[in-house]
Assembly symmetry: C2
Homo-oligomer: 192 residues x 2
DNA sequence: CCTACCGATCGGTAGG
DNA sequence: CCTACCGATCGGTAGG
């Protein structure tokens, strides 16, 4: 019972930290801000996390762990390559731009704030994510739908999608479905 | 004479700040770090700049002012659309990834650290840069070389190129020419 | 541009 | 998880 409560408090910290880190950046958010937002005293976050950076890593890992199953299901599914690619792009946009999805934006914004040791730890999960993209890109390439299957092409593609976090505005301009469709058209052409 | 010396010191601050901001981020760099690196005392940067943020804005503006002429010359030149696009991408990669080019990466990394007033000021120069891309994209589209000329397509394209700042490593993997060629192939196809 | 300094804030800790 | 606290650092300033 008390363990459940403690876990909830820890989860509260991660969730609130994700929101504040996203809004103000890692350096722009104090551990006091986070403590206030969950109704703790200033020193109490350090009962749950050894350091501010451990909290940052927890935010990133939660985002990756939450996003991986959906992406893995899409990649393992039997959709035709073009549809699979669209579905993966759409799922990724939801993870990066969806309402209340603060975890992956924090990863994209503040990756460099992690210490080398923590970066290596989170990288393990990132690698699994990257591998899914590589699988789909290879599949597209094998089907003759992509102009290049080089590592550079994959990075350019992921960059285009990830960079949306800097310009997308909910309710203004294109929505997630339209952005996904536009990305598919740009990278694969308009005809199947 | 003394004005020249003062200008040099100011320029030193901007150049060194660009390097440190790029390496450690805006919040990860103290004004003392910058003062030390140019051989000043801790309070002296504030003789040249009213605030740390003014120095950040100066770094970004210097990067834009330095990069605009080359891009404008390319866009105004008479190259065929495909070659013009390749040249613009290549010039942009040089600005973002070239050796000693710390100014635009700082803009990409720490844009959000600017106060709203300073952001509006720097945005004027950014808009000129964005317009050049829009011109070239429209030209490509008019020539039937691009699959889409929507604003979203332009943003995806710029995102792919800008995001290289997060994965490009000099001397490892593709060089700038190869990345530019790969981008052209991905967005325009391999045949002219 | 330096000297000397200030108020504020910050991450983190000991002890309970 | 709170109380009470510390040492360090930071952006910025007055006066010269």
């Amino acid at each position: 019972m008390s363990a459940v409560i403690a876990d909830n408090r820890r989860a509260d910290l991660v969730r609130v930290a994700a929101r504040l880190f996203r809004e103000r950046g890692f350096d722009g958010t104090s551990t006091r801000d986070i403590a206030d937002a969950v109704g703790m005293r200033s020193g109490s976050p350090f009962y749950h996390f050894r350091s501010k950076q451990e909290l940052l890593a927890a935010v990133m890992e939660q985002g990756l762990v939450a996003g991986l199953p959906a992406a893995e299901a899409i990649v393992a599914g039997g959709l035709p390559p073009r549809d699979k690619f669209r579905a993966l792009v759409r799922a990724h946009l939801e993870t990066v731009l969806g309402e209340g999805q603060d975890f992956i934006p924090v990863l994209l914004y503040d990756w460099r704030r992690l210490t080398p040791a923590l970066r290596a730890r989170v990288q393990v999960l990132r690698d699994r994510y990257d591998q899914l993209w590589q699988d789909v890109v290879s599949e597209l390439s094998a089907a003759g739908l992509l102009r290049s299957d080089s590592a550079v092409a994959r990075l350019l593609l992921l960059g285009a999608v990830n960079y949306t976090v800097l310009w997308y505005q909910p309710g203004r301009g294109a929505d997630l479905d339209q952005i996904a469709e536009e990305a598919v058209t740009m990278f694969l052409g308009s005809q199947p």
